[in-house]
């Protein structure tokens, strides 16, 4: 009966991010937030294991207090409890900080057999926090896992890693940490009852102060500039003469011959 921790991040929906070509600034004032794409897979995998083998699932996130809405969202996906590590200072953290904070929260305070992270966060996509957290907690870890089985009697997992040069199946005795690829499962869409249920689930609020440590970034960001692209953005219909126009255009550009 594994005790599982699923790590998730509350991120800006990158589809809402607009850019100002001239100033190369990001226009963020109309962005919505969401649970980082692949962290839904992380939560889903944890919940599936729990549904199969019993045990428990806690969802944990490090964020600013403004991320509160993420709790209902995460809890409606199945975890029985959320751990909301929040402080106004937890704004745009560097992965090393995030890993350090998670380690400080989990170390000693939370019982666990397995920690599941996503492959990478939708905003930073550093693919660091998982393995870095494992290192800080002195855990064995397997990254880029797209198939996971738990062997109850031996309290170990068999994980299939999908790597550039092929598949690698590894066996790890728990406790351990794994990071999952999006193709490991298809996250459920929370139902009305699950959403209502989420509102009743317990949440541990953990403040920076209660950790009695300071967490300095290892990387300093010197600039963030919108990536701009000059495109003509001509629009055509599916009518034959319109399509002919496109073909003529491509011929003129000399990209087809």
């Amino acid at each position: 009966m594994p005790k599982i921790i699923a790590c998730f991040k509350w991120v800006m929906d990158e589809a809402d991010i607009k850019t100002d070509a001239k100033s190369r600034q990001l226009v963020l004032d109309r962005v919505g937030y969401k649970i980082s794409e692949y962290d839904r897979n992380a939560i889903e995998e944890a919940v599936r294991l729990q549904e199969k083998h019993g045990g428990s699932v806690v969802g944990i996130t490090v964020a600013t207090p403004s991320a509160k809405p993420c709790l209902k969202d995460a809890l409606s996906r199945g975890p029985e409890k959320a751990c909301f590590v929040n402080d106004p200072a937890f704004e745009s953290l560097d992965p090393s900080q995030t890993a350090a904070i998670l380690a400080a929260v989990i170390e000693g305070k939370t019982e666990y057999d397995l920690i599941i992270c996503g492959e990478g966060s939708s905003d930073l996509y550093a693919q660091q926090v998982g393995p870095a957290l494992a290192e800080k907690l002195g855990l064995p870890c397997a990254t880029y896992v797209n198939k996971l089985t738990y062997i109850e009697e031996e309290n170990r997992v068999i994980a299939q890693r999908k790597l550039d040069d092929g598949l690698e199946t590894v066996s790890i005795k728990l406790p351990a940490l794994i990071t999952v690829l999006p193709d490991i499962n298809t996250p459920r869409i929370p139902s009305l009852k699950q959403v209502l249920g989420a509102a009743k689930k317990p949440v541990d609020n953990i403040s920076l102060a209660s950790l009695q440590q300071s967490f300095e970034p290892c990387l300093k960001t010197t600039s963030i500039l919108a990536a701009t692209m000059e495109r003509r953005r001509l629009k055509f219909t599916a009518e034959t003469d319109d399509i002919r126009k496109v073909v003529d255009g491509l011929l003129k550009e000399g990209v087809i011959a």
Partner: protein, 432 residues
């Protein structure tokens, strides 16, 4: 929680739904507010201006806490005809001190705020859930069905907007509205600096401007253009009769692009970045499209009930939505006193609506929709007005002509018959 039963389930967290949820929760009812979008207001759009009176009744001085953009001090109606544009411009500074006359706002933040008020008051908000059907027991509405889940309630309030499937499922409305009963709206939010907005529209402080356009922008089709100034952006869009749009095979997005490029608009948005595009329907047929408003265990509010008034120079829907949501809440509270949510007991909703401005105003403008269907309104008259007035100001050495003469020649040019003019004038006077 399988056995859980709510005092009221409200479908749709737009202004109508959130207002009803807020008032009912304040009364201590167990309220469930269900929104299909990931967040309230996320996908909602409107032109950009809400008249304050309705919400001020419910949340006095709401402007102190609500995310409003600018208080409107300037109204402009412009007739567009080719190179010519004639505007009727009105500034009233009493509009920009409490109780403010109207505010421009952005739905994503405003709807989220209003839904949050309902939550604070104790309502349960469930986002990302689409209600698929009604739960009917013994011929009465007994709750809702969303995916696998059924949820019971004493009463269901349909606040699910212009295409309300709930009203249809309840049999209160036969089918989705007909093309001739709705307008298709499209809008872009264009980002500028706050200074640029104030300066381009000659606005002091945080005052705002509201502009409506008639004529070329809809290619003479029924409807018009609108422009509202937000803090540091502009909401620009069009509403065109859906029927005529179909008939003439125009794409609303193309019309909007043309509108943006027209010499009367281009300079106002020059250098701005489009940060949002959206399209949505507007009920336009007024009372004639109004479904039955209530039945056993259910009430219909806001756009779902067709409570919108589009006169060309005013577009009102938010204030109707809020007031009708409030009336629905009052009706539920009244019925609750008898713990009887039957059609008879809920019929008081109709009465509350009559007492409020909602039905009164819709009654008053009953004829407007037909009046506005007159083609001349959107082609001939704008040409006439623009032509005449520009002539007034034109000095080019050609022999002088008295204003009346000018008018006559322009009436001829614009091909309007006398009878029509008189008739339309009379209808207009009666209807607007």
């Amino acid at each position: 929680m399988e056995e859980e039963k709510f005092g009221a389930i409200i479908v749709g967290a737009g202004p109508a739904g959130s207002t009803a949820a807020y008032l009912l929760a304040k009364e201590g009812l167990e309220v469930l507010l269900i929104e299909k979008g990931a967040a309230p207001g996320g996908k909602n759009m409107f032109g950009g201006r809400m008249y304050s009176h309705a919400l001020n009744q419910i949340i006095p001085d709401f402007w102190d806490q609500a995310p409003v953009q600018r208080a409107v001090s300037k109204e402009t109606v412009t007739f567009l005809a080719g190179d010519q544009a004639v505007s009727l411009n009105c500034q009233d500074l009493s509009w920009v001190s409490p109780p403010y006359h109207s505010f421009t706002l952005l739905r994503a933040e405003f709807d989220a705020w209003l839904a949050a008020k309902a939550e604070e008051a104790g309502a349960m908000l469930a986002c990302g859930i689409r209600v698929d059907d009604l739960l009917i027991k013994g011929g009465k509405v007994a709750g809702i069905i969303a995916g696998e889940d059924e949820m019971l309630a004493d009463v269901v309030i349909a606040a699910d907007g212009v295409n309300s499937i709930i009203a249809q499922k309840a049999g209160l409305r036969k089918k989705a509205p007909e093309p001739h009963q709705v307008g298709t709206g499209a809008k872009q939010v264009i980002k500028l600096s706050a200074e640029a907005v104030s300066q381009r529209f000659g606005l002091s402080g945080n005052n705002g401007a509201a502009q409506l356009f008639v004529g070329d922008c809809t290619k003479g089709m029924q409807g018009g253009g609108f422009l509202y100034t937000n803090k540091d952006s502009i909401s620009l869009g069009l509403i065109v009769g859906a029927g005529q749009l179909q008939k003439n095979k125009y794409r609303i997005s193309d019309l909007l692009e043309e509108f943006k490029e027209s010499p009367h608009i281009a300079p106002l948005i020059d250098g701005g970045e489009v940060v949002e595009y959206s399209a949505h329907l507007v009920p336009e047929a007024g009372l004639s499209m109004m479904p039955q408003l209530y039945s056993d265990g259910i009430l219909v509010t806001g756009d779902a009930a067709g409570f919108v008034l589009n006169l060309g120079y005013v577009v009102r829907g938010m204030d109707f939505a809020i007031a009708s949501g409030a009336a629905a809440a009052k009706a539920v509270i009244a019925a609750r006193a008898f713990n009887d949510f039957s059609k008879q007991k809920l019929s008081i909703y109709q009465q509350f609506l009559k007492e409020s401005f909602v039905l009164r105003d819709l009654e008053a403008y009953r004829g407007a929709p037909h009046f506005l269907e007159i083609q001349r309104m959107f082609k001939a008259y704008p040409q006439f007005a623009a032509g005449l007035v520009s002539k007034m100001f034109t000095v080019d050495g050609s022999p002088p002509e008295h204003l009346m003469g000018k008018a006559l020649s322009h009436i001829k040019k614009s091909g309007i018959g006398w009878a029509q003019l008189a008739g339309d004038g009379w209808k207009g006077a009666r209807n607007l």
